[in-house]
């Protein structure tokens, strides 16, 4: 099993994709997953407006636990309306 990772708006531009999958082994919290991608894409780590997290379509904090099969989304502050 794996984690489905989603990026939106400017973060999708930085990551060069909207969707990717990673092996869930070794990841316990949202933060641990984010840190992996911040290493791959340094611009994510110092994103100017901050980054929001969601697990399975619900807002989540950095310490939220994750499970095999979860969908984890990273995105900037919203600007709809």
């Amino acid at each position: 099993m794996s984690l489905r990772i989603l990026f939106f708006a400017s973060l999708a531009d930085i990551a060069g994709t909207r969707e990717t999958f990673v092996d869930a082994a070794g990841f316990t919290t949202v933060r641990s997953v984010f840190e992996k991608f911040a290493k791959d894409f340094p611009k994510l780590g110092n994103h100017r407006t901050g980054i929001l997290f969601a697990v399975n379509s619900e807002f989540a904090g950095p310490e939220s636990p994750i499970q095999d099969g979860d969908e984890i989304a990273f995105f900037p502050p919203v600007s709809g309306g």
Binding site: A9, S10, S57, V78, G80, G81
Partner: protein, 136 residues
Amino acid sequence: MFQLVRNPIDVRKITDEIQKPEDGAVVVFEGVVRNNAMGKAVRFLEYDAYEPMALKKLEEIGSLARREFEIRDMAIVHRLGHMDIGECSTVIVVASAHRGPAFDACRFAIDKIKEIVPIWKREFYEDGEVWIEGTH
């Protein structure tokens, strides 16, 4: 009615669907694409969304509004993709017996959309484009 759509929004159709004989007030809010932002001329916009979550959050706003205000029903439709100046990106329709709660719930809904619904706007200018992050 809570929807994300990719084609122009038919406001009249939404109000016709929402309004019932017992309503004394129907408040309609339309968010429209403006030709300028922060002093720059805007040519057009694109909206992107985390669609399943955005839809869930629109429904959540509807439930919150119905709990908080004395309204009978609410509809929110947000359009995604390319939009030209003057086109409508968001429509909120609130129906209630009286005008007060309908105005209040409508204001609550648009403010909440700008806070918790994962939708992003990209502004296109003569000399480039920018993802807007957060509300000004």
